[in-house]
Amino acid sequence: MSVETTTETAPVPKKGMNILFGLTLLGLLLFLWLLLGLSTTSFWTANNISNLLRQGAMTAILAVGQTFVIITAGIDLSVGAVVGFSSVTVAWLLSHGVPLWPAMGITLLVGVLIGAFHAFGIVRMGLPAFIITLATLTSLRGIGLLVTNGSTISISNEAFTNFSRADFLGIPSLFWMVIVVAIPAYIFLHLSRWGRYLFAVGSNSEAARLSGVNVNRTIYLAYILSSTCAAFVGLLLASRIGIGNATQAEGWELQAIASSVIGGTSLFGAVGSVHGPLLGAFILATINNGANLLNVNAFVQRIITGVLIIVIVYFDQLRRRGSR
């Protein structure tokens, strides 16, 4: 009942709770799906489920990357800009005759470099994560606009643009990409020692350091992962809309953060998972999809989204408090 829950000693769910909580979010998602299935005829069609999986995919991947950073008690505001910038990068490379695979490789590498730059700013220059990533957000959009001269670069590579439309085993390729990212991410965060180090740094970086954890390297890792996920999403976006455009993905950073927090990540660090943000992202996608199917006024949709974020995170807090 007091503000202490918002300080750095915020309550943390127990191990068992963690899984339960994951289940409850899953429950919420299934509940939403049930509800939409009952109130629309078109929700439970193969086509719509495919759409839904595609629509949530990009935010889901961003949210996973973001979660690594948030667990270290940081934040990465640049991811939306990195997505837009990456779409420009790959489109530019392709339009200048670079073959597909190298073009994608270079784009991912740019993501790595951006993440390394963030970590450099935080670790070496002592800047708050909020500020350095806000600054790159601004600058990257500027660079992307400069490269494209404010316009878009069309992508003519059919193989590339067809990818995002393709299915594999009946499941959209974009959703496969979520799986491709989520499984190594899960192993990394929950089963490997580097994941543990992320939590330790987020909880108390000084204690982690004195225990021999290379705190700086851990921070580099987190930000590089986040930016690389964002660059990867940039590739997917470019494939999906078939253009490179620096102003795309505006505000996606907030969606990614919201997904992550809905998925149980604590903005104070040291609490988070891989499955949570995924569920969070698909809950948000479901809200939008449902609102579209129900033909909810676009403005009302915004209101609902805001309210639901509050409600979901509030019940999350309640659950945690109950577990104490």
Binding site: R193, Y197, N204, A207, L210, S211
Partner: protein
Amino acid sequence: MTGLYDVSHRHEGAAIAKHPVAKGQPILELRGLQKKYGAVEALKPANITFLSGEIHAIVGENGAGKSTLIKLLTGVIRRTSGEVFWCGDAVQLATPNEAISRGINAVHQEVVLCRHLSVAANMFLGDEMNKNGLMRKRAMTDAAQAVLNDLGFNLPAAALLSDLTIGQQQLVATARAAMRGTQFLIFDEPTAYLTRQESAQLFRLIRRLQAEGVTIVYISHRMEEVFELADRVSVLRDGTHVGTRNIGETNDAELISMMINRTIEQIYHKETLPIGGTIVETRGLSGPGFTDVSLSVRAGEIVGLYGLIGAGRSEFALGLYGRQPVSSGEIVWQGNPVKIRNERVAMDLGIALAPESRRDQGLCLNLPIGMNINLPIFDRLSNGLTINRRRETDNADRQINDLKIKTPTRRVLASAMSGGNQQKIVIGKWLSHGAKLFIFDEPTVGVDVGTKAEIYRLFARLLEQGAGIILISSYLPEVYELSDRLHVFRQGKLVASHTYRSASHEEVLTQAIGV
């Protein structure tokens, strides 16, 4: 209004002590006071009466519920059930504010002050001097300085709190509590980070307060302090109030057996072992906070470092451990000169450091106990990519058992542990890591008598395995009784060295103070 100083106006016109209670009459009565954290019953229904004007000690093992009791009385947490009577009236004590305005104040176990504010601002926080709605900053600084001087604490009131060492911060918290008009003052292990000299100042303060009619509750793990100060003593065990004694009618042995249900023959466990080769030697080592320190540690020995607050011992340890840059001098490790650039280098050489502040340096508070214990050794617990869960849990459970950490499982968060149990986690972390040289900085702060004895026995075990230990402690009996060699620090310099029991307590103290 009671209290030593006439600077607080918080209680002007407030309903403090409507019916003044005569000395020796009950001022605060607990009836069936109980606190549960989920399923954990931290305090079982307790009936304790505090008499006006007495010094009432509370003792008990780590996790016995002492701090819980204090937090209930000061409105930090809310009780699960029971009643509290203050001057005969039933009171809620639901918020710190309520407790303070009734005249109940506390110096908590963990220093809770604002590090971004000045000493004076901290002392007046929530109770500022105002004039026409604006703060009188100058007047507050002057008043705070006057109080600090009067108490004999050599601290500048205008300094930022973050510039002080943890011990000095403890003094600020004490001065603050003394300054506020108060009737009932609780000290939760106030001497944990203090040396003899500061402790003596604190005791003088407590006696002065008692003379003013303030009721004092005093919590400590140091028996001699209890016998020196208290009029009566209550014992808690596993959250149960097992009894209250008049100090004249009891003794060490009885209290300890009430606390832990068994007796301890010998606290300072010391075996004389053959001393081996030199593990580490520093030659003229200097860095921030310490200058020109030369000492060596050999296998099988404990090297004690004693000094007053801010003498530079912790800084020396951090320098040796690679956490802080060393400006000059040399470190020789098993005969070879080495540069210890960071903590990892130190660990790889075989140095372990259990730091002094468990909150800031020792623990990831919002992570589980098991994760804290395993933190230094995750690389060893991994098979290539992933961590071996089995070895991870086995190791955590072993340390929890060995150190008798009071927890149902390794999954409980470190923040839910009592102060002493948290300290055990810090130690457990380094025991599982293992090393040639262990640096323990204030390892027994807040640790109960029984566990202390166990920790000392652990030291012996480490020594038997051929390790060397640097023991930094502000608790003179501890370093005095355990150290094979005892070095005294003063203002960042090593000023004197003694072999086991070769100097008297008084001699060591004099050297530390430097008079």
